[in-house]
Amino acid sequence: MNGLRTHCLSKSYGETEAVRNIDLEVPAGAIYGLVGPNGSGKTTTFELLAGLRHATAGTIEWGVPLNQVAYCPDTPEFEPWLTAMEVLDAASGLLGKPRPRKILVEMLDHVGLADSAAHRVGGFSRGMTSRLGIAAGLIGEPKVLIADEPAAALDPAGRREVIDLLAHLRDSVTVIVSSHDLADVQRICDSVGVLTRGQLVYQGSVDDLLAKASTVLRILVHPPATCLKNLISDAPWVQSVREEQPGELIVDVTDAREAELHMARLIAQSNTGLIEYGRAGASLQDIFFELTETGRYSQRKHKAGDPQ
């Protein structure tokens, strides 16, 4: 099984470019998170990858036949006159891979819908429909699963179950998932792509992304911290240092690697009692905002400069 790749993938609707020159690299068997604000082009990208839309330019290499690519839309819907069991039966039958009843029951059980197997889906809640969407996607044993906000309609427990379900697919299925909950992405994804205004502004491992953006360090020592502050501010890899409150230093570094190597020595040299040392603003959410806000800032600047 090869990974999924796109090369200069673009999609325009008239004058509007929904997706611009996207080069996705999704390793086989990996869980890839595609994140971005609303309207950034995630769903369009997913629908291109699912073969539901034609690219204006660029190519897609699925790495597997297209009938082994499953797509779970953000708000799945099914024929309301079918039961949950019949939806799975139809989902596998239409793929030409009919499954025995036992497998269908197991799959429904897997997503917590075993008790509703014989109920028509017209009466299902949004959460139940989302679970059924995941089950309908997995019943055909796809090699690539594209899931757009799979846990969006679920309660916290259901959300965790679905995210865990996706995490268990690692190595056997290539999963491309989008989520507004960046903690989920941080927890299960091997690599991540950040999309803003139809462009991929970052692609790589989650760890690299965190390391890249975590250039602000927080050091908590027993006051006074003046000596340590002076030592740090003299270091060549430091851009700025400020004392937020007595004993709390916020250090903006230009090279995170150098900081990791030398900070402990500086603290020891200052003879100051260390209480806590770590990154400030090290969550994926902060980096996400930083990356996507940059995009918005550029857009505003661009518009401001445009002749009207």
Binding site: N67, V69, P73, G93
Partner: protein, 251 residues
């Protein structure tokens, strides 16, 4: 579950089969009854006035003609609505995603729906025709069965043309209402064209009242319409499959 079973469930559980059968049977049975009792109804309404009405005694042809008239109007409309509801796959784009990501080629997706609608419509037509034949025979007089069967087959061809036309409009228009509107507009235009000499005999719309035409007129005059309807049906359904395959899901 095969696509064929899925379509069988669709036509049964959405009550589309019931709607079709009810419409054809009510009009099939009701038409000859109305024709039979109409003179009496009119006479009873005008009994107190000075006007004396002399109405011809209904003939068996009148009973079947009433049903045939309804096939060309009301029944055609109901078939078009049922067909549009089944064939306008992209009317609900999220449900369309379910189908389109599982059946990648358009023909295997469209053909079972097409056949299910045609099948249900022809079953309803057969039951309506049987009802009309029975009531006409019982109330008015005997009908020759041979021309009626041939007429039934030609009306089935008319329904095939109707459903093919709906399939075509479903491949260019997404909403069910839009598809029905376009189909009805086209049939009205075709009905208007029927008044043009030379064109009339070639119009597929001529088949809509075949049962009455074959009982009331010598056989053979409908050959032009049969050829046009057959070729046009296959052609527009083929175009529908092609266009459906090229269309993107839009939401």
């Amino acid at each position: 579950m095969s696509p064929w079973r899925l379509e069988l469930l669709r036509i049964m559980r959405t009550r589309r089969l019931i709607a079709l059968v009810a419409m054809f049977v009510i009009l099939g049975v009701g038409g000859p009854v109305l024709v039979h009792y109409l003179p009496q109804i009119i006479k009873s309404k005008t009994a107190t006035s000075d006007i004396k009405l002399i109405l011809p005694k209904p003939k068996p042809f009148d009973g079947i003609q009433n049903f045939a008239n309804n096939i060309s109007s009301l029944c055609t409309l109901v078939v078009a609505i049922v067909a549009a509801a089944s064939l306008a796959i992209d009317a609900n784009p999220v449900i369309a995603i379910f189908y389109r990501t599982r059946v990648r080629k358009p023909a295997p997706l469209l053909v079972p729906r097409f056949v299910a609608v045609i099948g249900a419509s022809v079953v309803a037509l057969a039951l309506g025709t049987l009802g009309a034949w029975y009531e006409t025979t019982v109330l008015i007089g005997s009908l020759s069965f041979g021309p009626l069967v041939v007429g039934f087959l030609l009306e089935a061809l008319w329904l095939f043309f109707v459903v093919s036309t709906v399939a075509f409009f479903s491949s260019v228009i997404r909403s069910v209402l839009g598809v029905v509107g376009a189909t009805v507009t086209l049939f009205l235009a075709l009905a208007l064209l029927e008044s043009v000499p030379g064109v009339m005999s070639w119009m597929p719309t001529r088949l809509a009242e075949s049962e009455a035409d074959l009982i009331g007129h010598p056989a053979g005059v409908l050959w032009h319409a049969i050829v046009t309807a057959g070729i046009a049906s296959l052609l527009v359904f083929g175009i529908a499959i092609y266009l459906f395959g090229r269309r993107e899901v839009s939401r």
